[in-house]
Amino acid sequence: MSDAVIKCESVYKIFGENAEKMLQEANGNVDAKTFQENGCIVGVNNASFEVAKGEMLVVMGLSGSGKSTLLRCISRLTDATGGKIFIEGQDLLELNNKELIDLRRNKMGMVFQSFALLPHKTVVENIAFPLQIKGINTDDSISKAMDMVKLVGLDGRENYFPRELSGGQQQRVGIARSLAVEPDIWFLDEPFSALDPLIRKEMQDEFLRLQDKLQKTIMFITHDFDEALKLADRIAIMKDGIIEQLDTPAKIVLNPATEYVRKFTEEVPREKVLLIEDVMDQSTSDNLGDLRVSKDEIIENVAEKILTQEKTAGVIDSNNKIIGSINPTKIINTVFGGRKNGN
């Protein structure tokens, strides 16, 4: 078995009375329309993918596309109608209630769009809650929770009630709570969607900082493609319960698998997404200039440097070995050409 932390095999979630029977009869060929006519709603349709350790998979899609449902299947907040889900090689659907609770108490953390804080508990009590549920005594859980309060930058507000905090601060509490038990797997369901754009950006940066430090395995849900691009190692794009494409941001922008995905990528500023590696020439001609750029740079960050040079720049990998070249024309084509294609 691979080192996948989360692994889904043909997961289906269908809401409705005789969903299971209908799924069996459909024989793996689920059509949302026929199901709807029979009073069933298809939430997730044949989802298969893996998430590796330390990877951040962002699930993207319009509202109602089944993102939350998929996440809830993997956290087993609802039981999938069909398919298999493995968490660190363990079959999730085989777990009994006690094992499931153990898994959640030690391995999983989740952040919600509406924050979902307990209104009767203060900041620190909210964060200590999962610890106390685990049976850790009051003193230890509170002191651990205070560490988390500091981690998310809420020191001084630990005795506030959720209603006394702004949205961004409430979500910090939500994040701290989900991290309190030091889970390996971190689920976030549109954590920043309810926030103002400025705060959202601040929280995204904060989130990246945290992830840099913590290196969790993450499933992050959003309906905002820019957010997905900014955060993701890989993006899964969903529509009507189906995963239309699952790939790295650059590959999705360069090769949209379906018309639907292409529409999303149309407006995306390529220079912000694509890496040098994605557009460089494999050939390393001899008349390279002095400029060297790393293959992992985002185009936007080095475009100016390359464009001010006359000569082609060399592309190096992490060992400083030249593996390709990139000339200014290529940059110009990528930045402006892509958009022309879209029209």
């Binding site: 108490r105 509406s114 209104p119 630990e158």
Partner: protein
């Protein structure tokens, strides 16, 4: 005509009214019909018709069926009664071990269950009562009377009042702080000094059993209804009927099942107090956002933790309103159940009212109200209490309340001991101030009442006469003049116009039940009094609410006043009106108006408040003045919520009208009161209660349906 075409609803309503009045004029009053038929139901009269159903003979005066339907359900009360007796006395006899006689004895199952339940209740009530007041019963329960005779020392001594007062003060301080502590202290001292200690503690022991039990059962049932659709479906009709069932009416069947005394009172109180608790628990749990539940699950809660650490605390607001209701009902019942032998303030209050000793009644009523407010505030503070994890407190600081209480306990005992020397030969005032030895202001109040009566007699009498002759009598005559068929057409038609065929059927069923019972005329009188009360209450509540809404602090103040008034047991309202208007319909109606104005005011303010702030601003920006804003924007939007207030106003008014029977009215309440002293009254009492409940439910159904549609229409569902 143009207008009618644009508003087809108005045309339909007009048509309904025309049909109604046409029926009223077309159907003559039968010559033999007397408006209220006095005692006719109990008199055998050759003019009466009879029919036999299920072995029960029903006698009645037959009229044209268009005028009054024959009481086809007349057998129901008798049947209920007989069934109850059969269940209690003959059903499933079994062998039970009898402790006293040390042998097996044959007893019907239900009787045995009732006896056990009764015994258990009596035991806990006595236990708490004897901790507060002292006594023998608890020790007897563990030993025997012989043991007591042999050991004269064996008696629970009871706590000196000083200790209870100090305890209440310290507890209030711990829960909420200085304000409540001062209130608690003053209340306790007042009760003691005015010689109300014993009855107050009797009432308190009753409440301390009834309220927690109602809370626990209500919460439990609410939770199981939340978890299982089937339980909810089973409970729903009971909850619905109990919501509008006058508390009086439940007394009678309970009398049969549980006998007379404090224990029966506790059981009855629970029956009345549990339904609102269930409803509010359910409401609160339903309103929890699903993500909060998921957050709880993801935190690793098992089912138990999820329920008690996540769901219930999150639903706390509604559950607290439930607690508040439970306490309210308990105090209300503390008075009402004096009819079936509950001891304490309620008994004194009823006795005083009966003797027309307004002063005494006022003192008892004040005590009940004070204790009710105190307990209400304490329970609220308890639920809102917070823990401080960071204060680095010394041992003394952490335990100061306990230490103070121990101190107060010791001092109290020493004081009581000193008292035995100080007041040798008389009463030990430092232990307990006996009922008749406290300060009494009763004379003062009675003189005041006399004075008011003497001074204003002419005016009061004139007002009274005018009201009765010019307003009430004609209104009552009008109601009674309605042929049954016309009434049914009107009500069912309204149901159809508001809620379609479904509503029409429900309302029709409810009305038919009343029309086919032997008490249609009485129900009309009840309705007329309630209608009168509701109209005036709404006018007052609406005006006061709107005025108070103009200022934030006034609105807050008014809501606080409503809270406090709501805590008063319903009977208390009868005291001041009897002071002023004596024993007349006017008294009842004024009590009804005062009582029913509370929800009318509250819902007006809350409704206006619920109008989104954005709309206010938008309106102000478009240059609307204050009055226009009120009439064009706030009222239309607040109206649905205000209609729910009307719903509550009707329920409150009905309750008070029924209680008004105590003063003397000629409606359903009078018969319920009669049933209380009737050996075979259980069936009659219950059926009458259901009739009253159905009157409430008819309005409830119409209003709720209308509000639902209206809210959808306004997009604020």
């Amino acid at each position: 005509m143009e207008f009618l075409k644009k508003n087809p609803k108005i045309f339909q309503w007009l048509f309904l009214l025309i049909v109604f009045f046409a029926l009223c004029f077309a159907i003559e009053v039968p010559e033999t019909y007397k408006f209220i038929r006095g005692q006719a139901e109990f008199i055998k009269d050759p003019n009466q018709s009879t029919f036999v159903f299920a072995g029960k003979e029903v006698r009645y005066y037959a009229f044209d069926v268009f005028w009054r339907l024959p009481p086809l359900l007349g057998w129901l009360p008798i049947w209920i009664n007989d069934s109850l007796f059969f269940l209690m006395n003959d059903w499933m006899p079994m062998e039970f071990w009898n402790e006293d006689t040390q042998e097996f004895k044959t007893r019907p199952l239900l009787l045995q269950i009732s006896r056990n339940l009764t015994g258990f209740m009596t035991f806990i009530i006595e236990l708490i009562r004897e901790i507060l007041l002292g006594g023998l019963e608890t020790i007897v329960a563990f030993t025997s009377w012989d043991f007591i005779d042999a050991n004269p020392w064996a008696e629970l001594p009871g706590l000196p009042w000083t200790i209870v007062a100090a305890g209440a003060t310290i507890l209030s301080y711990k829960l909420s702080g200085k304000g409540l502590a001062i209130f608690a202290g003053l209340t306790m001292v007042y009760i003691s000094i005015f010689g109300q200690w014993k009855p107050s503690m009797q009432t308190l022991s009753f409440i301390l059993v009834a309220a927690p039990l109602s809370f626990i059962f209500g919460l439990g049932l609410g939770i199981s209804a939340f978890k299982s659709k089937r339980v909810e479906k089973a409970l729903y009709p009971i909850l619905l009927v109990m919501q509008t069932m006058p508390q009086y009416a439940v007394l009678v069947p309970a009398l049969v099942l549980f006998g007379v005394g404090d224990h029966a009172a506790v059981i009855i109180t629970m029956i009345v107090a549990i339904p609102p608790m269930i409803l509010l628990t359910l409401l609160g749990l339903r309103a929890i956002p699903p993500e909060v539940i998921e957050a709880g699950r993801m935190s690793g809660c098992n089912n138990w933790q999820l329920m008690f650490k996540v769901l219930i605390p999150t639903a706390r607001r509604d559950i607290l309103i439930g607690v508040n209701q439970v306490i309210m009902v308990c105090f209300s019942m503390a008075v009402i159940s004096a009819f079936i032998g509950a001891k304490g303030l309620g008994f004194n209050l009823l006795l005083a009212l009966n003797q027309l000793n307004i002063g005494l009644a006022l003192e008892a009523g004040l005590c009940i109200s004070l204790i009710a407010i105190l307990l209400d505030k304490m329970s609220l503070a308890w639920a809102n209490k917070q823990t401080d994890y960071f204060g680095n407190l010394s041992f003394f600081e952490r335990n100061k309340n306990t230490i103070f209480f121990i101190g107060a306990f010791v001092i109290g005992i020493i004081l009581a001991y000193i008292g035995t020397f100080l007041f040798k030969g008389t009463f030990n005032y430092l232990f307990e101030i006996p009922h008749n030895k406290g300060i009494s202001t009763a004379d003062f109040w009675n003189k005041g009442v006399d004075w008011i009566f003497d001074t204003f007699f002419v005016y009061i009498k004139a007002f009274n006469t005018w009201l009765i002759q010019e307003v009430l009598q004609p209104m009552r005559a009008l109601y009674l003049r309605m042929p049954a068929v016309a009434t049914i057409v009107l009500v069912v038609g309204a149901g159809y116009l508001i809620g379609g065929i479904r509503s029409a059927l429900v309302v029709c069923g409810l009305t038919l039940f009343i029309a086919l019972s032997p008490w249609w005329d009485r129900a009309l009188v009840t309705t007329y009094m309630a209608t009168f009360g509701v109209i005036i209450s709404c006018l007052i509540g609406f005006t006061v609410g709107t005025l108070c809404f103009q200022s934030k602090s006034a609105a807050k103040f008014m809501l606080g006043v409503c809270d406090i008034f709501q805590t008063f047991p319903s009977f208390v309202y009868l005291i001041p009106v009897m002071m002023l208007f004596g024993i007349t319909d006017t008294s009842v109606l004024i009590a009804v108006i005062v009582y029913a104005t509370i929800p009318a005011t509250r819902y007006t303010i809350e409704g206006l408040r619920s109008v989104p702030v954005g709309l206010h601003e938008a309106a102000t920006m478009s240059g609307v003045n204050k009055f226009q804003r009120l009439t064009k924007i706030e009222f239309p939007l607040a109206f649905p919520h205000m209609m729910l207030g009307l719903n509550q106003t009707i329920v409150f008014a009905l309750f008070m009208v029924i209680i008004g029977a105590f003063i003397g009215t000629e409606d359903l309440g009078q018969y319920i009161l009669k049933a209380l002293s009737d050996k075979n009254g259980a069936g009659i009492g219950l059926t009458l209660g259901i009739c009253v409940a159905f009157i409430g439910l008819i309005f409830d159904n119409l209003i709720r349906t209308w509000v639902g549609k209206r809210k959808k229409h306004l997009g604020i569902a």
